[in-house]
């Protein structure tokens, strides 16, 4: 067993988990509190990537461009909520799925027209292109460490926001019993707009922080959206803590599966069978995890109280 490789893959899985957490945190809040199935959450991730790429190109500074993209994401989220999503709260889930799916198609095509199929990207500044060498010869690209660190900071911020502030209390209350929060005289309309704006910022941040690695292109949101749904189902819908733990589990299991399944299969079957089964099984791993967790805990690992 190669322990350096194992440790490096652990970091890679952790970094994937961070991205999934950022997307899933918003998704779980929007689904859990507003009872809105927002398939267009991946679109917000794409917004973040393209906003940041554009601002980085304009300002010629990665950090500055990314910082400007954050209030732009908040504005975009609030604008979408006020103009489109607000009309969907009273409708059933199927209508919501249909409408937000339409948004995916619309924005993917719009971005395709504006940026072309090749999309756009962000070049890393020279001071972030190196490797971080940890004890034992474990080397991780600096920028992936930046992603992990910034994701952990945001997780801490969310924890403090949700558990220590008044707005967080309302968010928790909304996840447990939406009608009661409204009946107690809380401006639920404003709360929903804020929650959606927060979700948009989190998804947008995930999109912008990953762009220097994966590039920005039309349709990039959908693959992460499916994983984010897996994460919130595992974690328990409406729970930030659940989203964090489930995202880390999903990220690490997915990466470990891609890294070691084929080697493991070679021990029990011949080369051709292992090569065919390897990619198939490794892409199924997280869904198997989801099925197992749902069988044991049908409402996820950390369902909000009273839900």
């Amino acid at each position: 067993m190669n322990y350096v490789l194992l440790a490096e893959q652990f970091f890679n899985g952790f970094q994937l988990g961070i991205i999934l957490f950022l997307v899933a945190a918003g998704l779980t809040l929007i689904f859990g509190i507003m009872d809105l199935v927002n398939l267009a959450h991946g679109t917000l991730y794409m917004f973040g990537a393209f906003f940041a790429s554009t601002f980085v190109a304009l300002t010629d500074s990665m950090v500055l461009g990314m910082i400007i993209a954050i209030p732009a994401m908040l504005a975009a989220g609030i604008l979408l909520e006020v103009t489109i999503l607000r009309t969907l709260y009273e409708r059933n889930h199927l209508d919501q799925v249909l409408a937000t799916f339409g948004m995916i198609l619309f924005f993917n095509e719009l971005f395709l027209i504006a940026w072309g199929p090749e999309g756009t990207g962000i070049n890393l500044p020279p001071y972030l292109t190196g490797m971080v060498t940890l004890p034992g010869g474990i080397a991780v690209p600096e920028y992936r460490m930046v992603i992990i660190a910034s994701g952990l900071l945001i997780a801490l911020f969310l924890y403090l926001l949700v558990s220590k502030t008044r707005i967080g209390m309302l968010i928790r209350a909304g996840a447990s019993n939406r009608e009661m929060v409204g009946a107690l005289g809380i401006n639920i309309k404003l709360l929903f707009t804020l929650v959606f704006g927060l979700g948009a910022v989190l998804a947008g941040f995930a999109g912008l922080i990953i762009t220097p690695i994966t590039q920005a292109e039309s349709g990039m949101g959908e693959s992460v959206l499916i994983l984010a749904f897996v994460v919130i189902v595992i974690g328990g819908i409406g729970s930030i803590k659940g989203a964090f733990i489930a995202a880390m589990l999903t990220g690490i299991i997915d990466t470990m599966g891609r890294s070691f399944i084929d080697v493991a299969l070679l021990q029990i079957m011949d080369t051709v069978a292992a090569e065919t089964a390897g990619p198939a099984i490794s892409s199924m791993m997280i869904y198997i995890l989801m099925a197992v967790i749902l069988a044991i805990k049908p409402s996820g690992l950390f369902p909000p109280k009273g839900a």
Binding site: G121, G130, P141, Q215, R258, D262, S283
Partner: protein, 299 residues
């Protein structure tokens, strides 16, 4: 007539519809192996190549360049698998690792960590279209560009080379790929084609996609001419296309029984010529090469 097709799995799913309706189907890119062998059809023409031919040329180039151990990275779909089969067929060294990633995959952190640990002499990749910019960026970020040479098929071409240059991915300069064509392939038709293309598209150097499309159109033209302008006369058009009596950007074009070209494959290197990145012809790797499964075609 149904001309076009980029993706092999789409060709595989949709070509039977056109063929059953008695129409001529022309692939200008997708080179699904099955149409070169078992499922070859009198009305099916391919004006490009069979999928495994270009990576077979790459395998041979790797042998010539003394590469002894190779890590193979590709995509998990029809063409992605056939690319891998191709390089495995001709490469004489050891393939010490292989990963086929799903089509929605854009982050190679796990695969690149495995490559780094395996320490091969070279990495073979098939990441066409939008996978290329993402993959090659990460290859540089992981620091592998300084230690392990990259060899690719269909991942760096005339269409995305300007993007790589714009994003200053200097580690791609000097890398090799193989192809049936190059913009500086020396024949009169090709010279005129490249010059006129650049004139029309603001100085852009054509990619092999454009070259294939040009030959596809000339192929249709040859067929319709042979039928005396009667494009509906499928039998006469097909006979004309089989003769392929036209000037190709490949110099000459000759079809086998399976209606796939029998042609040369070349190595090409990315160079910076006068401030513009381009693909430059190096050597002929495979000569008059026909798809290996041509014998399975019972036409």
């Amino acid at each position: 007539m149904y001309p076009g097709y980029i993706f092999s799995h789409i060709l595989g799913a949709s070509a039977p519809v056109g063929l059953k309706a008695g129409k001529i189907v022309i692939s200008a890119n997708a080179g699904h192996a099955i149409y070169a062998g078992k499922k070859c059809h009198k009305n099916f023409f391919n004006a490009a190549w069979e999928n495994s031919q270009t990576p077979m040329a790459m395998g041979e180039l790797l042998n010539r360049r003394g590469v002894k151990s190779l890590y193979v990275l590709s995509l998990n779909y029809a063409a992605g698998k056939q690319m891998v089969t191709g390089v495995e067929r001709t490469f004489k060294g050891d393939i010490i690792g292989k990963d086929l990633v799903p089509l929605n995959h854009k982050d190679w952190s796990a695969e690149l960590a495995k490559v780094k640990a395996a320490k091969p002499d070279g990495v073979f990749v098939f990441y066409p279209g939008s996978w290329g910019p993402a993959f090659f960026t990460q290859y540089g970020q992981a620091g592998l560009d300084k230690t392990i040479p990259l060899y690719n098929v269909f991942s760096i071409d005339g269409a995305n080379l300007p993007i790589f240059q714009k994003r200053k991915m200097k580690h791609l300069l000097g890398t090799f790929n193989t192809n049936f064509w190059a913009p500086d392939l020396d024949n009169a038709v090709n010279k005129r084609f490249v010059k006129d293309f650049a004139k029309h598209y603001k100085g852009q150097i054509p990619a092999h996609y454009a070259a294939q499309a040009y030959d596809s159109l000339m192929l249709i033209d040859a067929g319709v001419r042979a039928a005396g302008g009667d494009a509906k006369n499928t039998d006469a058009v097909r006979k004309g296309m089989e003769k392929a009596d036209f000037d190709s950007v490949r110099g000459r074009i000759k079809f086998g029984r399976n209606h796939f070209p029998i042609q040369n494959f070349y190595s090409r290197q990315i160079i910076n010529k006068g401030g513009k990145w381009q693909l430059s012809l190096r050597e002929t790797v495979l000569e008059d090469h026909a798809p290996v499964m041509s014998g399975e075609c019972k036409l």
